[in-house]
Every structure is written in C-alpha cells, then in structure tokens.
Symmetry: D2
Subunit: 345 residues, 4 copies
C-alpha cells in the first residue's frame, strides 16, 4: 500500500510499503480518512528520535486518525462495516498488571502507532482491535474524529485535575495541547480559563473559545492577572502544557491554597521544583501520560456540542501533499494550531 | 418595616413587623431587591410546619434573595455600599466542630432564614454576615442572583457526584430542583442529561436547556432509554430530585457499574432500598443537605455564561402582590418553574 | 477425582467426579490443601439455590482455598512448582468493559467457584489462571491462606470506606464477615472498632482482636455507646455486615456528619432507607460486591503480622469428614466462626 | 514567669519574662508539664532565623507541649480543671477563607508558638483556645502527649497519601519526622515500610518499630531493595522526610505506576524535578504543611495502643537544664531522636 514513510531523519517518501496485517476475531479493518500531524510526528521527521525511541528502519508516520470500518472480525460486537470511527493509537498488553488495574496507559509494553518500531497510519488501511475503535456520532466529522487523539490528552488532564464546577483554571501554553486542555477544562466544569503564552495569534484564537482570559506573558505577569481575577486567592488548577522548564517551575505562584497542578507538557530537562512553595499551599501535583478510558467521553462531549474542536483545525492537506504538510508543520506559523491530512476515499 | 408575614398556616399578611437588627463589625446591611418563592416557603404557608420545624409565632417568609448593600460593618473587607449581592440564607456557629471541618452545612446550630424561629427576607432590609454575602457580576441580574440559592442545591449535588468530563447523568424530577441539578450537571462536565418526569410541559422546557433527553415516565421506561443511549452500560450518575419514594427506590436500575447516586430530593417516608441491587453495581450513594462553599462557584459559572438560569424564572410578582404570588405558587401550573417577588427600590 | 459433591439440596456425597481441565499457557495446576466452608456453600447445601443461582446438576462445593502448585503453564511467570498459594475464586472475562476499567468484580460474566454451574474446589486438584493465584509468605499457613477469600471481602469494604488514620468504626454483625471486616478496619487505620451483635460468645471473641468495644445490642443501645465514645459526634464509618434488614436500616443513627456507610452484608429483602436521615449527615454510602485487587494486600498484611486471622479458624475437619463439617456448619454454635476442611496431601 | 528565652542567635537564658495573657471565654490556661525540642527550635537557637521568620526580640522557645488545665474560660465545654492535655501550637484566623474551607493550616495569618514574634511554651503556664487543646487518655503520658505535635506532621502526611490497606511505603530519612511518618504509615494501613538513611543507629531503631526494612543508602541501592520486595512493581507511596535535595529528586525511581509521593521534608533549595519520570508513572505528588484536624486521630491511635511513640523519646532533661538540652540537641548523636524537657509541677 502507498504510505507516508519516514526513511530516516529529514527524509520522507510517499511510496509503497508492505505491512502484513491479519484480521483477528476481535479486530476491525479501517479505511483511513483523516490523519492529524502531531508534534511527535514532526519531531521524528526533524531528528529521527524521541528520547529512547529511535527510527532505525523506515516507519509510517501518523497516529491521530479517523476512518471507516471496511471489515470486522468474527467476534466483534457493536461495530459494523460502514461505521465511521476514530481509534486509540496505543494497544496495551491485556495481561499486564497495569492493564488489569485499569491504568493501561502505564503499561510499559504498550504498542503505539508511529513510535518505533510500530508503523503509523498515514496509509490507506489499518487493522486495529475493536476495543480501541470508537464510533463517531453522525454530527462529528472525520476531521473532528481525528482530533480526538490530541483532545484525549487534554481530557485526561482535566480528569486528573478533579475539577469542581466553577473552578478557575490556568493553562500555560497555547499550542495544540494547551488548546485542547483549555477546551477540556471548560467542558469539564471550569468557569474560566486564563491561558498564558507569548504568541499573540494563538492567544487571540484561544480567546474565542469561551470564557477565556488570554495573558501574553511577554507583556503581562500571569500571577498578577490571576490574583486580580480571584481577589488574591489564586487559581484552583494550573495546567502546565508548554513543556517549558522555566514556565513549569513557576506553577505554584498563581495557585490557590490546596490547589492542583497538572503536568501535561514534557520539559526536555528536569525543572527547578521549589518544594517549600508547593508545601505552603499544599499543592497536589498530577502527572499525565497519554490517556486511558477517555475516548468515549471526548466523543460524547463533541457529539453533544459542548466541546468544539473545529476552530483548532487550521490547515488541511491532501494525502498527495503529505510531505508539504510536514514541511509546513515543521515551520508552523503562529496562527496555525493543527495540520491534518485527508486520504483519498 | 413592611414584610410578608406568615401568621400561621394558611394566613399571610403584608404588614409592619419589628425586627431589631444591629450591624456587627463583620456584617453588612442589604436592601432586598428580588426574593424567590421556594417550595419550603409554600409548604409553611400550606401546613405551618416542615418536620420538626413548626411556625409557632408570626414569621417573615423568603430565603432566596438578592439585593444591594446599603451599609457595611467596620471590619468588612471586599464589599462596599452599592454592591449588588446575593446571600446564603444559613449562618452556622463558627465554633462548631462541623464548621471547623469545613462542612458548615451540617452544623446542627445553623440559623436559616424562614425556618422557625428565624425570620426570612420578604422585607425591605436585612443585616447579614459579610462572609455569607456574595457580589454579583455586572452581567448577572438580581433575578438571577436570587436563583443562586436553589441553584446551589443542584451545584452541591453536582459536586458530590464527582462528575468526570463526558459522564451521562439521569435527573429524576423536573421541578425547580431537578432543573437546577440538570443545569449544574451540564455545567459540571456531563455530556448529556436524561431527565424524567410525568409533566410534559416541564420536560419540554428541560429539553431546551442543552443536550437533554426528556423522558415522560408515564409513557416511556427510563431504564430502557438510558440503556439504549449507553449501549447497555447505564448512566454514570443518577440524581434523585423528585422526592418521590417510588422513583427513589428505582435509582439503581438505570445506573452503570461503579456509578454514583445522589439523593437531593427528600422523600416524606423511608424508601425501599434494595441493597443487593446497589451492591451488584457497587453504587456509591451521596446524600445532599443544602450546600457549602458553592455560592462563588455558581456565580462564576453564571457570570461566564456557562450556566443560564433565566429560562427557569417563569413568573414574577411585585412585592405588593406577594400573597397572590404565594397563592399562585400553591397551585403551580405545570409550565411554571420558579416564582419570584420584586421589592420596591 | 474424589470430591465433595452437592447432588441437590440437602444431599452431599464424597465421591468420584469427572472434571476435565486442560492447563493453558497462563494457567497453573494446584493441589488443594485447605478449603474453608463459606455461608454460601452452606446455603446451597441447605436450599439448593442462592437467588438466581440454582443447583441443577451435581456441583462440587468450596471456594476459600489454599494449596501447592504442581504444574505451571508455558507462559507463566513468577510462580513455580512447589509454591504455596491461595486463589481468587472468580475469573472475569478479560475483554469485558468492567474488566478493562479495573473493576473486574462487577463483570457479569465472572465465573466463580461453587456458583452454579461452576464447580468448587473441595477436590484434590484444580487448574486456575496464574493471574488469580497468589504466593503465600513462608510465615502464612495454608489455613490462613484459605482465609484470604473471606478476608478479602472485609478488606474491600475497608478500601471502599477510605479510612483516615484514627477513624472510629462500627461493625454491625460479628459473624465471619463482620470479624474480617473488624480486622481489616483495624489494619487499615481505625483506632477502635465498636462491634454489635446479639451473640455474646462472638462478641467475646471479637473483644480479643484489638482495641474493640463489643456491644450486645440485646442489652445495650449501639448509638448510645458510640456517642459516649465520641463525645456525641458519632462514628466515622459504619460497616453493615449482618445482612439483617432492621440493623441495616439503622446505620445512620450512630454515624457522624459526613460519615461513611459500607454495605457488606446482603439483606434478603429491601431495607427501609430513611433518605432524610442520611441527608442531614450527608452520609456517603458504599456498596461492596466481592472484591478486586485485594488479595496481594491481604496477604501482605498477614505476612507482616499486622493482621491475624488465626483466632477466627475455630473448627477444622479432615476431607473424609467433609459432610460432617457441613452438618456442623449448618448448625453452627455461637462460639464458632470459621470451619475449614483439610485435604490429604 | 521563668522561661527559656532565646535572646538572639546562640544565646539562651533561663530567666523571668513578662507575658501578659488574659483568659477569654473560649480559652483554657494550662500548666506545662513536658515540652519537646524541635529541629526548628534548635535552628532558631543556631541561626536566629528560619526563612522569612527572624528573631528580632527575645522569644520563648518550645511548641511540642503537654500539660494540665488549671483554669477554664466561661464558655468552654468538654474540658475542665485537672484535665491532662496536649495543644496544637498554631492558631488560625477564624474568619479567613482557608479556615472556613477547613484547611486552617494554610491560613497565612496562623499564629504559631515559637515562631517570631509569637512566644513558645518553655515556661510554667500558657493561655490557649479550648478548640486547639485536646484531652489525653489516662494511658497516654505527658511525654507521649508532647510527641503528638511532631507525630501530627507524619499523620498528616499519611492522610495525604490516601493509604490503601496493604500498601508498601518508602520513607526517606530516619530523623524524628521520618520516624513519626513511619509510625503513621504503619498505623494507617501500610503492610511494610522501607526506611532509608545513612545513619545506621537510626535505622537500627526504626527496624524495631514494626514490619520495617531499613536501607542504609550509603551501602545499598534503595530502588533495588524496593523492586525486589515488590517483584519489580515499586512502592505504592514514597514519603520524602529527609529534606535532602538530592534524595528528594530521586523519589520517582522506587515508585510504582500510579503511585503517590508525599513531600514532608523541606529542602533548603529547589530540587531537580524530572517531570517526564513522574509522568511515565503518573505519580501523584502531595505536599504537606504542618497539619489540620489530626490531633484527635493521633491521640486515639496512641490511646488504643496501635501507635507507640515512646521508643522515639530518647533523651529527657529537667527544665533547669534546658540550655544543656538545647546544646545536646544542637549536636545530636546518631542514636538520639527526640529530646524533651520536663517542667517542675
């Protein structure tokens, strides 16, 4: 089949590749329709590796995907040919202790699309377990379906935050993950989100997504804004979604007593963590790794119209322009959030 | 001052009454603007008592209130003359164990407006602790401010439910408390609310409030509807807001495994509780008594536009027509939800 | 193999029975050593059914078991021939939604030993999944190992109660489940357990198990005792372990504000549940169905010497006297708690 | 009255000092019996300051105290002259938002004994609010009563950890706070504590306190020990009680997936926090600042015999030798844990 193959760092091909896949009794085969470009895809393109994961052989990219079921395994229930679906890209070992405990995202044996040596899905079809394939409501498009994967990260963060209705949240970082965290925080019960970044176009977009207070931290002090909004009490929740080590070190400053911090962004190096600053507020810190059990919840909120990801889909390319899409994503302009690629049907 | 006085069961007067009040250092004096009529007010009017609370002397009615500050005590901070506010009607003993633990609503010594022998606020002014007086945003009207009290009950229920973003909730009962619970569940992260009642006009109104599935249980089976919506899994949360003993006994049927039940309505007699039905799903049951720490959260959600109580305010009377308002509320038509009374300014 | 077979109600045989079992790659084969007699075994003996579960064909009894591994499947890790082990008697469907969420005890497809039509383990050997087979420390005997099953019920109840160190708990009922709940509550952080029953010998035994206040409710008022111990505040937790409908209806009386109730016993009929009594204290009610993820925790506490079940093992019979053991258990004297049967090795 | 006065850094006097105190209606007056020496007392002696708190005027030291009530205010209930008691040293502002929420330890206005400019209690008598004065059971000595203050820190940490019965915990640091954390973890439901330090005498003492595995990290690798004990899964909880920045940076290594970390020790500078290491395990981090609502729980566990602090009281001095006691504490030998001072009665 023809696929977008990362040959090695800096070298993409749109070419035929053999990916032998057999349909097991609990599997479905899906014709891909839309695949989003994630920062991790771009990072593999740019450097050939993420941490311990190194691209040693040609690998198909892409893991944010939606499509249509074209074949179902013999024991599959609840899904049928023709269903429009989106898919979780990670498949855990069903016999691991983490999986049995319900925290399958923490299973070290998870096989995740477009993480070496596992192929991604910028290709015509894929075989996938039915248990990790989710039907889309009629009013949710393929493009929105392909957004469920990044959205799930924000939703998982919102879950971990244990939002109480009416909380005020800070989101640090207005990139794709910051944006989906903002949407998840509002859909999850926050009354207002203060979002911090240095790119004004991203803040301008964020400000259109609901009761949002954008703060350009190149010009304004985040803590000052939060303290003014909360009569000096502080934010109930701070979501760190920038991955910036300096920003991550400052999470306790705008936080309220007994507030919660959620680390979603992944700083490249250890951050300076002021334990006594966390202690004087008895901050609870949660750390997020991908997501678990979130897809049906994200889809339900999108289907109900309570969470709208469409404003985040800023650029769409055809499959034949996949390499151009990646080159665009590599030098993303500040008013772009999410690049998607549409496959021929 | 002129007040709406319940002389005894069935006898209301709009007359002068002496209510000596001194302004302490932590108090404010408020000119009332809008006061809602609660089912409990109507019940005292109709029967002269609620459980152990018996009207033995003339008592002013009304506890759902908003108004304007006209005087502030010497030590009050954060509030000033002219502020538009709403008030919590219950004042706990600051030295009780429950209050110290942060669960002041469970303090048996709470003094609550319009609960014998404490006067309510269908009168020109009242003195109240600043700590239980909350500023309204400019975009929240007095009428909405007077809705915060009943809304707080639903919000407290939503808090207790520990909603996870994307949950599907059932609300049993589409009276005023069912309606505010529905709004709180949606604002608090639910993706859909299934609301059950037998009065079609109330269900029709509920259906306009968001992603809501109305079920007229005189014609449809609630559990069937829920199971169809959830592929046989069940609702994450069931809010019992009808106070109907038979309905309350059925809460486990539409519930999912490990689901949560919140009892908000107060059945007049013990209900038949099927422990084994609760056990096979390991239901968690929460019980709600008024609310605590909820007012600022409710006001924040209203100010952000994420929770709109205006559709619930169906009937407004002038203060001079207060007795007519109560007679209307006593025989409420099915398309009415909340009656409010506006005081002369 | 020779097994204790329930032919039908009131008829037990110690006889040969064919139970074809193949050892899968993730299974182990165990030679049984000790099997406890559970109230449910006795109930099947006495009536031939429990609720919807009816003994229609001869069935081997027994599900509280410990033994020695005599064969291991090809993919088994962490267990080897000769290991002394105890086993969870219920095996869930690994592909069910409940199992994936980590709440495998709520999977309706669970196959549970000695629950029709699944054979129990009063027989020489059994094949079982390694994932539900747990190694015993050297200082934990087979007899104690066979107690882990009932203990797990109490431990699961203690988990659900979310004990805070220093809590005072009430346990209603001093039968085997009440006793293991008492031990679990103390090991789990309670500072004292008040245990209520009408059988003085059971209370006398309970009183030897730690900081325990026995209350013979035929002579004393439970709530009075609790309120005296807590200066009128009430118990932090009430565990209902009697299954008595009248006792279960009274759980809110000795409870403190914001206290927790855990229903472990299974009343035969619905109980009269006073919602308003639960509301005025905002009781949280948890319901327990068997257990999940508890065995390793129970074994760890026993191995550490922090939880001692030995005093509860009051009567031991040889396998050849199994029928006598059941007849004894059917008319259990008040100073007996747990009957066990030892198999020939 | 004669008191132990810190005149300035390095200078202690046992001398008369005037401390005017009036007994309010909700207060009691206590004759001090035993006062423990805390690391913070020693630090003020050694340096004259802790962070922002600087000793600018002579200040009485001591805040770990027990004594006997000698006078009660007019509105005090539940306490009487002659009662043996211990006291919380911090008094919050009853009108602060934090206090109203039940998190009074986070109120920035707390007045805390022996924290400038508030006098401590190494003196004959003190006036204190009854609400923060707790009766000791007959079987709890004054010496044990004076241990409740440091114990409360460990108990609060154990509360925050949300121990599940049977958890395995690591405690880093075997100083006084590490020791009380160990005791709290075991009393709170842990099945085993692995304690790490470099001082062998402290580890030897810790090993006598229950099911404890001491690890001398100068000789052994902590993570190796934990992984061996847990079959490679990791510890459920890691309590950081050393305040050592390097040790604190390593907390995620021995932790299990979805484990909890509690920071109790206060490192003098920011620690290097590896967010990605925390994320891959989705660690939850709790931060502890003193304690709230813990005294009655600590006293209950001590009174029940489930938690024994006596082995930690290694050195006792008479009041007349107070300065010698501080000099001893300043150069504490490795086999000493807690120094206490007994006042003349």
């Amino acid at each position: 089949m023809e696929a977008l193959v990362l040959e090695k760092a800096h070298e993409l091909s749109l070419r035929d590749i053999q990916i032998p896949e057999t349909l097991g009794p609990h599997d479905v085969r899906i014709a891909l329709h839309t695949v989003g470009v994630c920062g991790s895809d771009v990072h593999y393109y740019d450097t050939g590796a993420i941490g311990q994961f190194v691209v040693r052989e040609p690998m198909v990219l892409g893991h944010e995907a939606a499509g249509t079921i074209i074949e179902v395994g013999s024991d599959v229930q609840g899904l049928k040919v023709g269903d429009r679906v989106c898919m979780e890209p990670g498949i855990p070992d069903p016999n691991s202790k983490a999986t049995r405990l319900g925290i399958y995202n923490l299973d070290p044996a998870v096989r995740f699309w477009a993480t070496p040596p596992v192929h991604g899905v910028l290709r015509p079809t894929v075989v996938h377990p039915a248990a990790f394939t989710f039907k889309l409501p009629d009013n949710v498009s393929f493009a929105e379906g392909a957004m469920v994967e990044p959205l799930a990260v924000g939703m998982h963060g919102a879950n971990k935050a244990q939002i109480k209705p009416g909380d005020l949240a800070v989101v640090i970082g207005a990139g794709p993950i910051g944006m989906v965290t903002l949407l998840s925080a509002l859909a999850g019960g926050c009354s207002r989100v203060v979002i911090a970044d240095v790119q004004q176009p991203k803040l301008d977009l964020a400000a259109t997504l609901g009761p949002v207070t954008p703060v350009n931290v190149a010009q304004e002090n985040l803590t000052d804004v939060v303290m003014k909004l909360t009569d000096g009490w502080g934010a109930d929740i701070v979501f760190e979604a920038s991955g910036n080590a300096k920003a991550a070190a400052g999470v306790f400053e705008p936080l309220c007593p007994a507030g919660r911090v959620v680390f979603i962004g992944i700083p490249g190096q250890p951050i300076a963590f002021d334990v006594s600053a966390a202690q004087v507020k008895e901050a609870r810190i949660e750390n997020v790794f991908r997501y678990a059990h979130v897809y049906p919840r994200a889809i339900a909120l999108m289907g109900s119209g309570l969470l709208d990801v469409k404003p985040l889909i800023t650029n769409t390319f055809g499959f034949e322009d996949s390499i151009a899409a990646f080159d665009f994503a590599l030098h993303m302009p500040p008013d772009s959030v999410k690049v998607q690629i549409t496959l021929p049907q």
